[in-house]
Amino acid sequence: MLELSINGIDVQVEEGSTILDAARFLGIDIPTLCHVEGLTPYGACRLCVVEINKGEQARLVSSCTYPAEHGLQVWTHTRRVVEARKMLIELLLAMCPSSKTVQDLASAHNVQKVRFKVDYSDCILCGLCVRMCNEQMDARAIGFINRGKDRRITTPFDVKSDICRTCGACMYICPACELRCQGPHPPGDVCGGCLNVEPVCLEEEEQKMCFMDPCGWCYKETGRRKTEKEK
């Protein structure tokens, strides 16, 4: 067993676990997008970043791939982490504003506007479908081609695949082709204001203080959740 500390709480996990496993064991919610149990960790969406070590050695790593180490100190919701996640969600939202998953992530993290040009792409290149096809369906019908900004998912040589059994697993797992609620929103708008549960304590503390909903720290301080004005 390995003993590490997450947000100051000591936790014991089995060798081979990741930080994400350990955090979830403690009930700490770390957002993920490209991570699905049953598929190999990929570490591409970077939403699950957490901060390890302190001071000058502090850095952000993806918790879904980082193996738990003995004595490791992990912080899952520091300001640096939360701000990075918000920026990443903003980038995802600019790519694919029509995805319900992305919109839900945005509202859960209080991302309220997109400062980039909106693309309306239908893929966020999380690679879930590729891993699903390869690892669970054992078909290997699709994969990535090109690199950088030209990267996309396709069948070999862009032709209709013989080995694809049209099982639909790729579509089942895709977070981008799931449509968001179709309210009267202008293009590029962020929906789901209904779900804003951003941790308010970050305005005064270096990291999120609890994972209750709504966050209990405010109650401790003032007896009630702060209003917009008070913030």
């Binding site: 570490g43 980082y66 193996p67 701000e83 920026m87 990443l88 980038l91 950088g148």
Partner: protein
């Protein structure tokens, strides 16, 4: 071939190959860089020529890799005399064989010429470029034929392998490497010894080592230089490493864009195997090791170790999250050690000479030497090896030889796309891992791209971001989308689509990309953006706010390079094309629209427009200044201000302008055109400021100046002469008289003192005072028949010298403490002064003025030598001991710069001043007190006339906005006027160079102040004007102006 089985056999073969012979040998550098310059044609020519003379058996031909100095390729060295010829062409070969090889004579024309001293240098090592380096690794390139292992034996090759295998345990080798302190040369700088130790300690019996030769940084080619020039040193280092780590298989990963390197290394591996250095039981030590080449397919990201491993395994070259580190789970999940080419090449040296020797080189924390490829806007392009801790300044100015075409240094980009740009202010930075990181860059693999004043830093950021968004593997969101979005924003800025908040968004995004990316590529991708914003934020702001690219790189942001360069934005192509068609008065009207002093500027402007002229790339720039002068002269009696540009209504606000120099008068001019009736106060009895009292008549006739001042007066400007503000009347008094705005443009009028004994003697006169007296017609001391020494190297020193000469001085000497190329005066002025017989003593400083009966008798001087470089690339003058000498003189004119003193002027007012006495004011002219504005030299320090005019114009607009409070007012002169001249864009450019203006002959100049330059005739002016390439027509002007207007409205 016999395998070398024991260390003794190796020693024997080394001894055999190390014997020096007197047989002539021609060594030719043919790296890829040399071949590109035609080195292989030179080789062919030599082979042919040697055959012709039947010298094939008597003269050896050695083909080596690149020696380093790529700028002078193709080069060759003739042994045993070590004669080094540069820029050799196949046509020179015949001469070389005949003269040098057979007759043993040197051909001076083919030798390297030291640009500083103009002396010719025979030996390669004596060339300053090489002399200032420490060439531990690269030096061998000049001695080795990379195709021939025997040459490597000749320098003791494979002896360190033998030493390691026979007398050292693997642990001892690792300790030796650890003690040496060498850090990874690939960029990150991880200590090599520790890396090896981790890999050695990792569980498993099968281990791999890899040499990373996937060198993809734009402008970096150190690894190629080594692989092509000395492949065995890399192989030997790898065998030693494998022995220390316990690996039995290795890979050299070379990018396929290096075909010569691949070929050379392939051959080297074959030879090493034949001699038994690779394979089973190496040197009877029971150690087995073999090497393979893997060719990289051109992905930049494959330089990242986990991506490189994936690529060797045959998978897509994509990194994966570390840990596990390759030392634990690397190639095929086995412990793997990866080092850069240069790191491996250092290993044999450390083993042979010992860690103690090695750790003495460099700084406390960074050890050894590092190879850099010095490229970009630098005189001496090439591969440079210097010890860690060498200063950037010495690298750029010393070894690099400074910036071509006397342009000034702007920044150096280290570490390729992952590095940052280091500005001039940080040129003192020593090159080591920590210091470069501190200033926001990285060591990187060793690319060093030098940028000059013509480089736009926003464009540099755009270039690197575009590179990175293409080369990012695209696996992780932050790197793929982050680089793409950063590129999108920066490209927008370069196209004039930037908006407020862009810089902050870039910084925020860059920080996230840096924090959250998976591999080194993404983690460092933000560096070019962050460092350019950090050091050149102003440039970003100018792009976003003023939609202007000061360097004239971003094409969407300017109309023509000359107009962009001009501080007042004169429509240069417009008036030049009008001159070309003979429409002189229209041309003058257009020039007068933005500049009230076209004739004055036509004479004394520093014409930065000409240095940006595109025609310069073809032959010479268009003589913009001369043409401007011509139209004023030609239309001498025909200057009429266009009525439309003058507001009909009179604005009642009273504006006081203090100082009638170019800044003050141009402010008055533009205010008058808006309808104001400003009053100009001048302390001297003449108007014009420095134009009237400091510039001598022979450069700027008073008639010309007064004509342009008279025109300004005609617009309703009142000039009150002999009125000294602060003494005759104060600003507060004027305020109470109803003046509501003040423009202080009093310039710099005090001379700096030398601070040496004897300065108070009679006949020591400050240059400004002297020129003022001469210009006003009453010199206190006449220099006639005197020996006069002028001290300084600026324009006023040369002005004083030429004036003194004209007044009949017996001898005129200028003393300057630096060299001629450092003189701030205009080159043409210096040339004319020398032409007129004025002697300039360089590297000379006065230390004492000696007098007799209160008058100057002699001046004591010391000689200076050139010391360290300063940040501007000038060498600091250092006095030479015991070099004092005396010059008999009767008069001394110090001209070492000016300063300003505005305390009297601001009596009773608390206007904020800068430390150096200049007035603190913002770009638009506002000082700390509302209603008081300032501009010109008194704000900027000594500058040029055109900058003063620009400052006057800017402040006129500010004053109007302050008084009239009308934000919607358009300033007609700021609109670009499209001229209707004809231009055939298909036609070839005119095939002649710059036309020379007529000059006064030497014997016509002495004893009078007639203008030296007589300008163009109508014919030559038209001929010159037709040389203009009309860059303004490159873009659709009408469309651009419409877009600009729209953007302005938004």
């Amino acid at each position: 071939m016999n395998k070398i089985k024991t260390p003794a056999e190796l020693n024997k073969i080394i001894a055999k190959n190390s014997v020096k012979t007197d047989k002539p040998c021609i060594v030719i550098g043919t790296g890829t860089c040399g071949i590109a310059r035609g080195a292989d044609n030179v080789v062919k020519a030599f082979k042919k020529e040697l055959k012709k003379h039947n010298l094939e058996s008597n003269v050896d031909l050695k083909i080596t890799g690149c020696h380093g100095f790529c700028e002078i390729e193709p080069y060759l060295t003739i042994l045993p005399e070590e004669i080094h010829y540069i820029k050799v062409q196949p046509t020179d070969v015949k001469k070389i064989i005949k003269k040098t090889v057979i007759e043993k004579k040197i051909i001076p024309d083919l030798l390297y010429t030291n640009p500083e001293t103009q002396e010719r240098i025979v030996k390669e090592q004596e060339i300053p470029f090489y002399k200032k380096q420490t060439r531990n690794i690269l030096g061998n390139n000049a001695r080795i034929d990379p195709q021939n292992i025997k040459d490597y034996f000749g320098i003791g090759g494979y002896s360190s392998l033998s030493k390691a295998l026979t007398s050292m345990t693997p642990e001892k080798v690792i300790n030796e490497i650890k003690d040496s302190g060498i850090q990874g040369r690939g960029g990150a700088g991880f200590p090599t010894g520790f890396k090896w130790e981790f890999c050695r300690r990792a569980k498993g019996t099968k281990k791999y080592i890899i040499c990373n030769g996937d060198e993809g940084d734009p402008g970096a080619y150190m690894d190629r230089g080594l692989l092509e020039g000395n492949p065995h040193s890399v192989i030997e280092g790898m065998i030693i490493g494998a022995y220390a780590i316990g690996a039995d298989e290795g890979f050299i990963y070379i990018r396929d864009e290096y075909p010569l390197a691949v070929k050379t290394v392939e051959n080297a591996i074959k030879q090493a195997r034949e001699y038994g250095f690779l394979g089973q039981n190496i040197l009877s030590s029971h150690f087995h090791f073999d090497l393979k080449i893997v060719r990289g397919a051109g992905a930049f990201v494959c330089g990242e170790e986990t991506a490189l491993i994936a690529s060797i395994e045959g998978r897509i070259g994509e990194p994966r999250q570390r840990p596990p580190f390759p030392a634990q789970k690397g190639l095929w999940r086995k412990p793997t050690n990866i080092n850069n080419v240069e790191t491996w090449a250092n290993i044999p040296l450390i083993i042979t000479k010992g860690s103690k020797w090695y750790s003495k080189i460099g700084t406390e924390k960074s050890k050894g030497t590092k190879i850099f490829s010095l490229v970009g806007k630098i005189n001496n392009t090439g591969l440079v090896e210097v010890p860690m801790g060498f200063s950037l300044k010495d690298l750029v100015y010393g070894i690099g030889g400074g910036i071509p075409e006397n342009k000034s240094f702007k920044a150096v980009q280290t570490g390729g796309p992952s590095g940052g740009c280091i500005p001039k202010s940080l040129l003192d930075t020593p090159i080591d891992y920590e210091k470069l990181k501190e200033v926001g860059s990285i060591m990187g693999s060793g690319g060093m791209v030098v940028m000059d004043e013509d480089t736009c830093m926003v464009d540099v950021a755009r270039y690197f971001l575009e590179f990175l968004q293409d080369e990012s593997c695209g696996k992780c969101l932050s790197c793929r989308e982050g680089t793409r979005r950063m590129a999108e924003i920066v490209t927008g800025i370069t196209q004039g689509k930037g908006k407020e908040g862009d810089i902050e968004l870039l910084q925020e995004l860059a920080q996230v990309v840096k924090d959250t990316s998976m591999c080194g590529l993404g983690q460092t991708a933000a560096n070019p953006v962050l460092s350019t914003i950090k050091y050149f934020r102003e440039e970003y702001e100018t792009h976003i706010r003023d939609r202007k690219c000061p360097t004239g790189v971003c094409r969407d942001l300017y109309i023509s390079p000359c107009q962009n360069a001009c501080p007042v934005g004169m429509n240069v192509p417009g008036y030049i094309s009008l001159i070309g068609e003979g429409r002189f008065s229209e041309a003058l009207e257009l020039a007068l629209d933005t500049n009230p002093f076209p004739s004055v500027c036509g004479r004394i402007c520093d014409h930065i427009c000409q240095s940006k002229c595109r025609r310069n790339q073809l032959d010479e720039p268009v003589a913009i200044r001369e043409l401007k002068r011509f139209i004023g002269d030609y239309e001498e009696n025909n200057i009429e201000y266009p009525d439309i540009q003058v507001s009909k209504e009179t604005i009642p606000f009273k504006v006081a302008i203090i100082g009638s120099g170019p800044a003050g008068l141009s402010c008055a001019y533009f205010l008058a055109r808006l309808g104001y009736r400003p009053t100009v106060f001048e302390s001297q009895p003449v108007a014009g400021g420095m134009m009237a009292v400091a510039i001598p008549e022979y450069r700027l006739p008073k008639r010309i100046l007064n004509r342009e001042i008279a025109n300004i007066k005609k617009l309703g400007v009142d000039i009150k002469l002999n009125t000294r503000i602060g003494k005759d009347i104060t600003i507060s008094q004027l305020w109470s008289q109803g003046y509501e705005a003040f423009f202080v443009a009093v310039g710099m009028y005090g001379d700096r003192h030398l601070g040496i004994p004897g300065e108070n003697l009679e006949n020591v006169i400050q240059a400004v005072d002297f020129l003022l007296d001469v210009n006003l017609g009453n010199p206190i001391v006449s220099p006639a028949d005197k020996k006069v020494a002028i001290i300084g190297g600026g324009n006023s020193a040369i002005d004083a010298a030429r004036t003194v000469n004209r007044m009949g001085a017996a001898e005129t000497i200028v003393l300057y403490r630096r060299t001629r190329k450092d003189m701030p005066a205009y080159t043409t002025e210096i040339e004319e002064a020398e032409h007129e017989g004025i002697k300039i003593h360089y590297l000379t400083t006065p230390v004492r003025i000696l007098g007799e009966k209160g008058k100057v008798k002699a001046i004591e001087c010391v000689r200076m030598k050139q010391g360290d470089f300063d940040k501007e690339g000038r060498q600091r003058p250092i006095p030479l001991d015991n070099s004092n000498f005396y010059l008999d003189v009767d008069m001394v004119i110090p001209a070492i710069g000016e300063f300003s003193d505005v305390t009297e002027l601001f009596t009773g007012l608390d206007v904020e001043l800068n430390r150096d006495g200049t007035i603190a004011s913002d770009k638009s002219g506002r000082t700390s007190i509302p209603g008081i504005f300032s501009g010109g030299d008194v704000v900027s320090g000594p500058a040029t006339i055109i900058k003063a005019i620009a400052s006057g114009e800017r402040t006129a607009v500010t004053i109007d906005q302050y008084l009239a409070k009308d934000r919607t007012r358009q300033y007609p002169w700021r609109e670009h006027k499209i001229v209707d001249t004809y231009f055939d864009s298909e036609a070839e450019p005119m095939g002649y160079g710059m036309q020379k203006p007529r000059m006064l002959l030497l014997n016509q100049r002495l004893g009078n102040f007639n203008e030296v330059s007589k300008g163009y005739t109508k014919k030559t002016a038209m001929k010159e004007a037709q040389r203009c390439l009309r860059c303004d027509l490159e873009i659709d002007l009408k469309e651009k102006l419409e877009i600009d207007e729209k953007e302005a409205v938004c």
